[in-house]
Structures are given as structure tokens and as C-alpha cells.
Amino acid sequence: MTLTRGLILFIALLGGVPQVGLAQETAIRIGVLSHRGDAATLRNWGPTADYLSSQLPGYHFTVVPLEFEEVEPAVAYRRVDFVLVNSGMYVDLEVRQGVSRIATLNNRHGEQSYNTFGGVLITRIDRTDLATIESLRDQSFVAVNLHSLGGFQMQWREMQASGLDPWKELAGIDFANTHDAVVRRVLAGDADFGAVRTNILERMIEDGDLAPGSVRVIASLPTEGFPLEVSTRLYPEWPFAKTSATANALAQRVAVALMQMPHDHPASLSGRHAGWTVPLDYQAVHDLFQELGIGPYSKPRFTFDDVISKYRGAFIAGGLMLGLLVLLSGWIAHLNRKLDEAKRGIQSRFELILEAVGDGVSGVDTNGTITFVNPEMVRLTGWSIDELIGRSQHDLLHHSHVDGRPYPKRDCPVGATFRDNRPHHVDDEVFWRKDGSSFPVEYASAPLRDREGKVLGAVIVCRDISARKAAEEEQRRHLTEMAHVSRLSTMGEMASQIAHELNQPLSAITNYAGACIRRLQDDRADRDSLLEAMQLLSTQAHRAAQIVRQIRDFIRKRDPQRGPIEINALVVQTAQLVSVEAGRAGVDIDLDLAETLPSMNGIVIELEQVVVNLLRNAIEAVGHNPTDQRRITVRSTLHTDEVIHIEVSDNGPGMDPTALNDAFTPFYTTKRSGMGLGLAISRRIVEAHGGRLWAEVEAGGGATFHIDLPSAVTEARDVA
């Protein structure tokens, strides 16, 4: 998607929405099962919320401790966006509320990390009579909660599997609600045995809440690779889950942030876990629920038959009333939820698009004051949201040109946007970062209007184009280098011509000087003839110097400068450079130049090189003709005031039309000498000047090479 189209989309989105306070951070709530008490929950999981806030700019994550019974309503009424609950509750919520796991906890025991856990049956150390599940019959049982997976349900499954129905064959079941309370009541002798999840005893001992050797594990199972004592099968650790209302894009970012959390991150350490891993398969938990017929798989556990028959009338009346109430409140809740969903939907869609876009987006009012920015804009500029909102965009980001010259606000294209009420696109300016550095930027600025069409300000969509600029620079530098090598190579091929050309004036100089010396030696020197000889000699010295200068001009400069170029002058000069070669080959070069041509901008020696290449190819081509039929024409014309056209045509044998394109590939050559780079480089040079180079075969033999180049007029128009 182009920047401009992206911008149009934004305008469309913004159209119906009044100024939205994007500057405020969005609050994201993580509901965490508080199985060891709220204080422990906040202490253990608060740092994880902080970590997520730091990883996802624009969001503020908080931990909401939830009792077992509070979890489902919190999810159902959208009081939380994410939940971190035990695996059993998760499976329940997955089925009933459509939550989805995005990561599984890696627990930690000492240096070891593991992502499964189990349940432990414990008793006081002195109760040696309790060793097997069978021995628990008729004993009193304290567990954490009916919904606690590791603190009740796992143990229930194992007892049932051993043929012991805890509901019927124990002295009683009591729920203490936290693991720590279960341990305390077992220690106090309030219950004969208790159920807690793995790693609770170890942590209590570590925290000094439990004396080592004061409790014993009942029915301990050997479990390979699991570092703790356990009485049940193992189940996947707690998952981090998103609710159905939470956007997938946000969830993905949270998941990535969690996975990227280092195992030794402070948030992991305080949670006593070892970071997060990809979400595990929770089928083992489903199996447990199915086996016990609880959770999502619950069946009516007892019948109301007796009750119904006894209080039939009252029951029916109450039932009807209750049904009506339920219907009404259900309807209200449904309406509420719909409204809530709609509102959140609009807001989150809008925010998510702003976040998802890889371009910086900001809005300014008609004073140029920033009213909103997206996270990418924050990333690009280094300024925080608070530092950006309410400040003048131009003064903050756009105050100077790249060379440090001040950029007056009246020249700013963003300001122009709401003056002329049309979009502006710029790709040759810089934005300034908080740290004082700048980056090349491409941006589009479009007017932001309200429904009546009144201009409220402008939206700016920008991207950092440093990489693109650097690539362009590198490409240009490479071409310059290649062109230089090619010029040296051309010069090498022309070396003997050049030497010959230099030899002529040098021989003449030697002769004139010798003549003068001999006349002086022989006293036959008359002043006038000596003077004449010296003048002739001097002329030849200048001629030699001129040749040297031409060569130097042709090969000099690894870093040539751009400047205005007169094409006709360039053609004349290059024709002169190859005139010796042409003369030797008996070739006439005709120049047919346009009377007036606009100048163009470019690198003169590179374009000279192109014309030299074409002329030398033509000289070689016509070499196949009889001596008196070797003709080359260079023509310059002007098309529509904007395109300068140069043609180099010869009356040689022409080219095989199929070879026309090959001729432009590097290292293609039909000559014995030379690198075969001439045409390839010529084409790249012309293209780097915004032009075109192509060849045509003439019907009556001969080839014509065409060059189109943009005149300075064209460039000026493009810039305007």
C-alpha cells in the first residue's frame, strides 16, 4: 500500500470519529487467580504487568487478583482482557467463555524449569498410618477449593481411580480456599489430610512459612523428569489466556512479549517462574473433567424430584417469577454487552490499525499542534507520547533542514495542507529526533475535515527512508566507480591512438628545436626565422598540452560533480576526442546539431563517456565498409521542449536484431579487445540521468543508438 493510499484510509477512518484521545494509554487488565492471597498475587505478577507495559507502548497493564468464584464473572462481563488462571479453570473458560491460551507458564524449582504440575496429598509427619489412597477412607479432608485443579480436582481424580469416592467415603471435605491455609489446617490437626498443588510446600519452606520435615506426602508417584514430589498425574501449567473480546493483534503482541521475556527477567524471578513458552495442549485437563463429570462436562449431580413433589405449587410460582427475572436481566445484560462490544469494537479497530501500520502517523490542528500520534511515530522520533501531544509538530520535528539551516514554519508543507486544503507529498526532507539526530523522511500530509468539510487540521503519515536513501547512494557510488573503471579501460584501448596523437606535436617540437639549435651553432641564425621557428614550436607545445588536458578530463574524478551540461558542446568535444581514431580509420563524423538546446543537469564526464562509447563502436562498425563509404552521424534534437534526443548512427553492417538487447548486457562483446562493459555502463549512466538508451537497426544496414535525456526544464517542472 502506498503512503498516499494509507493516508486516504486514515482520513476515511477518522471521518466519523471525533478527536480521540489516543494520547492516553489504554488500560489492559490481567485477571489472575489469587490462590495464595491477593498480596502474593500482586507481588508475584505485578512485575509481569509492568514488563508488558514497557514492551507495548501505549498500553498500561494491571493485575486484577481474582478469587476462584470471581474469575468467570470477570471474564463474562469483560472486566478483564486477559486471564491467568489454573489450567482447570482455563479449560472451563475455554469451553464456556471462549478464552484462548496464548502462552504457558514455565515454572521454576531452583535452577530447573518445567511447564507441568501436579497435585500433592499431604498429612502431618506423625500420621504414619496414612500412606496410600486406600488408607484415607473415613479420614477428614481439607482441599483448596472445588475449582482448584492442583488443590482438589487432581486428587479427586486419583482417589476415584483408586475406587475411593471422596464425596461418600471420607469423613468430610472442607475447603480452605488457599493452599497455605490447607497446609496450616493439616499441621494444626483440623483435618487428617489435605490437597495442595506441587511446589507449594517447597515455596512455603523457602519463605519460612513451613518447617521442613513437618508434613509428609501421601501416595507419592515416581515421575520421570519432574523435580518435585507428586501424588497425581501431571498437567500443563497455568496458561496466559485472552478473552474473546480481546483483539488478536494485541494478543499476539502480548504473546510475543511474554515469549521474549528472559528466563531471568525480574518479572520471572518475582513470579518464581522461568518465563513463558508456547501454549501447551490442555487435553489432559479435559480428560480429567470428563472423567469426573465436572467443569464444562458437569452433569446434574443430584435430582430435585423429592423437592419438586413436596413444594410443587410454590416452586412453580417462584420458578415463573425467577424465569421472568432471569429473562429480563439477561436481556438487559445482553443489550449492555452489545453496546459495550460495539463501542470497544470501534475504538479497538481504530487503535489497532494505527498501531499495526508500520508508518508514523500524527495529527495536528490548524495551529500545527500535535493532537495524536501512533506508537511508530514515538519510535521514529524518540519523543514519548506525552512529549509530543500539545507541542508544535514543526518546532519539534521539522525545525531545520538537513544542513542545519532553519526551516521557516511558513514554508512547511504541513501548514500548506490546511491552507490550500489539498494533500502534499514530500520525500526529500528530514525529521529531527529527541536526541538531536535527524533521519530522511518521506511523508504525506492531508487535510483533516469534519463532517461539514471544515478543516480541523492535518494528518501526517511518515516513514524513515534512511535505508532507501543509503541504497540509492550506494548504487550511485557503484555506478560512478564502474564508470571510472570503464573510462580507464576505454583510455587503455585508445592508448596507442593517444600516444600517436601526442607524438605528432612532440616530433614537431623536437624538429623545430633541433633546427634552431643547429642554426645557432653554425652561426646561420637570422633573428626572424628563429623567431618563426620558436613560435611554431610553442604552438606545438600547446597542442600537446591540449591533448593531455583532454585525456585528464576524460579519466579524472572518482567523485564527479553534477552540474549544468550543454549537450551540443559535449558532442563536439567527444567527437574531437575520437577524431584521431576516426581519422586513422578513414571515418567522417558528421555533426547535425539542433540550433538551440536547453541545458540539462548531470555529470558531464559520464555523459561524455556514453557518447565516446557509441562513437567508438560506430567507428569499429563502419570499418567493415570500403574506405570511401565510412560515415557516422551524430544528431541532436529537442522533443517538446523537455526531452533532449541524441542519435549516433553509422552505415556499418548493422546488428543482428536478436543481439540488440544482448549488446547492453555487461561483458558482452564482439571485439577482441575491451571489456564489453561500454554499452552496459552507458545505459546505466543514461538511466541514472533519468533518460533512456536504446538501439535500432536501420533497414538499409547500419545501426542507430538513441539517447533521450530530460532537460533542466523537465526537472524544474517535476520539482514544482
Partner: protein
């Protein structure tokens, strides 16, 4: 140099031609300059004497083409080929084909002048030899067929008796013819007569 000798300079470069004229003039040599091989070949004839300074690389007829045409036309003026850098193989070929000398540009003026002087001397010698040969040939042509027969056998080193037997004439008759040959050819001895015959036969 003899007064009718000239240095024929053939070069397409006007400055080179003009400066050659100056240089040759400074040592009293006469220069005739031509801007192309074609123009030179039109002007030159076997009667001319002197030497040719010929540029190897010229548009149109190159130096070696000009040289070949000269020899074809029986013009044996000594030829000095002036070549540019990198033309050594061509120059070697030129020397093998009989070119008198070869100067590489850029040359020292003295070097060129030395070559020219040497060529002119050679031309003068060749002129003398040419004159002598012409004189001998004239005399030779006055011999009768029978005298020519006797001459060949004398030069072959045969005695009068053997010559008489070969030609079927008397020894005395042989002696008479032999005396006439010596007289007509103005030869003082048999060995001189042998040398004269070699000179005549060396022609063409």
C-alpha cells in the same frame, strides 16, 4: 649530398611536415613534402634521387603500402619508416622487406638526421653503381653473338683450347674474339671482366 638529392617527407600531419623541413634545412638538406602516400607516388619517378621519410600510420595508403608500390615501380630510393609507439612488429616487417631504416616516434632530431644522411650516402653509392652498370651494359650490348659465347666461356674459366672445342672453332679464332671482347669491354684482365659480368647480371 649531391645537389639533385632531396629528402621526400611523407606525413599527414602538417606540423610534422613543416618541422621536418626546418630541421633538414638547418643541415642544408632539401625537403620535398607530401601530405599523403598517394600524392607522393604521383610525384615520384625513378629519375629522382635522395631518400624517403615515410610515416607508417596515415589515413588512406599506409607507409608500407607506399613502400611496396615504390619497389613495384622499380624506384629503389632508400626509405626510412617513421613509426609511432607500439608499432615495432610492423617496423620489423618493414626492415625485412628491405626498408633502409626505421625511426620510432618520439625521436631525437640527431637520430633522424643520422638516418637520413646514411640513406643519402647509400643513395649516392647506388647512383654511382647504377651509372657504372649502365655504362657496362652499353658496352656489353656492342658484343656480337659469337663474342658473347666466348665471353661466357672465358668467365666460366675455360682455356682457349677447350672454348674452341666447345664452339667448334679453331683456337686462333678464339684468341681473336677474346681480344675483341677485352677491348670492347675495356677490361684489363680476366678477373676484371668477371667482376663486370657480375655487375651487369646483378641488374634487375
Amino acid at each position: 649530398m649531391s645537389p639533385d638529392q632531396a629528402v621526400y617527407v611523407v606525413d599527414d600531419d602538417a606540423a610534422v611536415r613543416d618541422s621536418m623541413r626546418w630541421l633538414m634545412d638547418s643541415v642544408g638538406l632539401r625537403v620535398e613534402a607530401f601530405d599523403s602516400g598517394e600524392a607522393f607516388l604521383r610525384a615520384i619517378s625513378p629519375e629522382n634521387s635522395g631518400c624517403v621519410v615515410l610515416d607508417l600510420r596515415m589515413p588512406g595508403l599506409g607507409g608500407l603500402d607506399v613502400y611496396a608500390q615504390l619497389r613495384e615501380r622499380g624506384i629503389d630510393l632508400p626509405v626510412i619508416v617513421v613509426s609511432g609507439h607500439g608499432d615495432v612488429p610492423i617496423a620489423v616487417r618493414a626492415l625485412k622487406s628491405g626498408v633502409a631504416d626505421f625511426v620510432e616516434k618520439p625521436f631525437k632530431d640527431q637520430e633522424l638526421l643520422d638516418c637520413v644522411q646514411q640513406a643519402l650516402r647509400r643513395d649516392a653509392e647506388q647512383s654511382l653503381q647504377r651509372l657504372r652498370r649502365e655504362e657496362l651494359t652499353t658496352r656489353y650490348r656492342t658484343l656480337t653473338p659469337r663474342e658473347l659465347d666466348v665471353l661466357r666461356l672465358v668467365v666460366d674459366g675455360q682455356a682457349n683450347k677447350a672454348i674452341g672445342a666447345t664452339l667448334g672453332i679453331s683456337q686462333k679464332t678464339v684468341e681473336t674474339h677474346r681480344a675483341r671482347v677485352m677491348e670492347k669491354m675495356a677490361a684489363g684482365s680476366v678477373s676484371e671482366l668477371v667482376r663486370m659480368t657480375l655487375i651487369i647480371e646483378s641488374q634487375g
